[in-house]
Symmetry: C2
Subunit: 240 residues, 2 copies
């Protein structure tokens, strides 16, 4: 009987543990959704010249910060209480790391909203909106796919995001060069173009964070750290 009871007790514990992990995952995805909306609305406020939306984005950043702190606390409690091992431990540690990435994506949304307000006050920038829209849609897709790869623990999708990040870096470089040329043509463009430059930079950083999330997904699934490795090595890890 004691043995039997132990089993029941063991099952019960492991059941609760699984519930906690599921809850942690779903709260992480909820924070991801919030952050996606923040980026989307920040870009919208910029393109539409809508300072009210920009103000809302700035105000909502507090909610993102709160989510970061709550999720962090929850993850540390799970480690302390459940002492997870192997794949479960990798999941919890990765959530702690990825939460920091999401919080920074939130910060980038706030910066974009701030630049939107500045541009609305100064009069819209004459150039760069096409590039912003293009890069924004690219990194928004990456962020969405990274969260999706996490939800489905899909390391192959994660690998595709790592590849997409190289392309965003190139697009950012090209857009920054074009903007620099435009600034040189007429000094009256400089201040507004600088604001556009900061927006492009913020978007490029969002791509980096999506890439960090993707690398964590591969770590969770495969147990190997593919940061700072070549794309060939990352392919080997995911394929193997």
């Amino acid at each position: 009987m004691p043995r039997k009871q132990d089993d029941v007790y063991g099952d019960h514990i492991s059941h609760r543990f699984n519930d906690e992990l599921t809850e942690l995952k779903s709260r992480f995805l909820e924070m991801g959704g919030m952050v996606e909306t923040q980026i989307e609305r920040a870009i919208q406020s910029l393109v539409d010249g809508d300072s009210q939306v920009a103000d809302e984005v700035r105000a909502n950043d507090r909610t993102v910060d709160r989510m970061e702190m709550d999720l962090d606390e929850e993850a540390i409690l799970i480690i302390a209480r459940r002492q997870p091992a192997a794949r479960d431990l990798r999941l919890v540690i990765s959530v702690i790391k990825m939460v920091a990435d999401l919080e920074r994506v939130g910060d980038e949304a706030k910066k974009i909203a701030k630049m939107a307000i500045k541009l609305i006050e100064e009069g819209q920038a004459p150039r760069g909106y096409v590039e912003i829209r293009h890069i924004a849609s690219h990194v928004q897709g990456m962020l969405h796919d990274a969260l999706d790869a996490f939800a489905r623990l899909d390391s192959e999708q994660a690998l595709r995001i790592m590849k997409a990040d190289k392309q965003v870096d190139e697009e950012y470089q090209a857009a920054a060069r074009a903007l620099l040329t435009f600034m040189m043509e007429d000094t009256r463009n400089i201040s507004r173009c600088m604001s556009v430059m900061w927006v492009l930079r913020a978007l490029e950083r969002v791509g980096d964070h999506a890439c960090n999330i993707a690398e964590n997904v591969i770590f969770m699934v495969k147990g190997e750290d593919v940061r700072h490795t070549s794309m060939e090595e990352a392919e080997r890890v995911v394929g193997g």
Copy 2:
């Protein structure tokens, strides 16, 4: 007798565990020292116009990346093997987070070195070096103090770093405004001033990372999360 043996065994385990924590701390500080040197030499390469030093900084970033991956792995192994609780767990989790900050400081050093090479090729920038030296010395001090606060688990020093970061942000804003004005005066300055602007931005980010480390030190010592809180609240946590 079995009880006695248990104690000996327990002591032995706990002794090894303490050794591992000490080793983790000292390796973190070693990475911190490496990253401090990277920032110092990147600034030196820029101010002296020494592209060889800049090349070395860029090459050494691989060592920083390697340290990040090794330390991360070690920290996760400690959690899996020793199942630390309370203060020990906070230490290990904080190391995992702070290692990411150090790696990013390393990235900023690499960016500064890249800008140094660009400026050497284009001819040094006419303005902004005074500001770079000033902000660099400020954030280098913050980084050093943050690592020191970690080594001595000194939450009061950590609090001073959080306060210093506000000042760096103001210095950065003032320098960026001055540079923008200078760009407007003569379009020939634009490209070089942009490089200086990226350096200032990188330094401002280093200050942010030093601040993150300081917040983690307070979390380790006090068990409270002071991110995203007011300075008054952080003071209460440290003082209480």
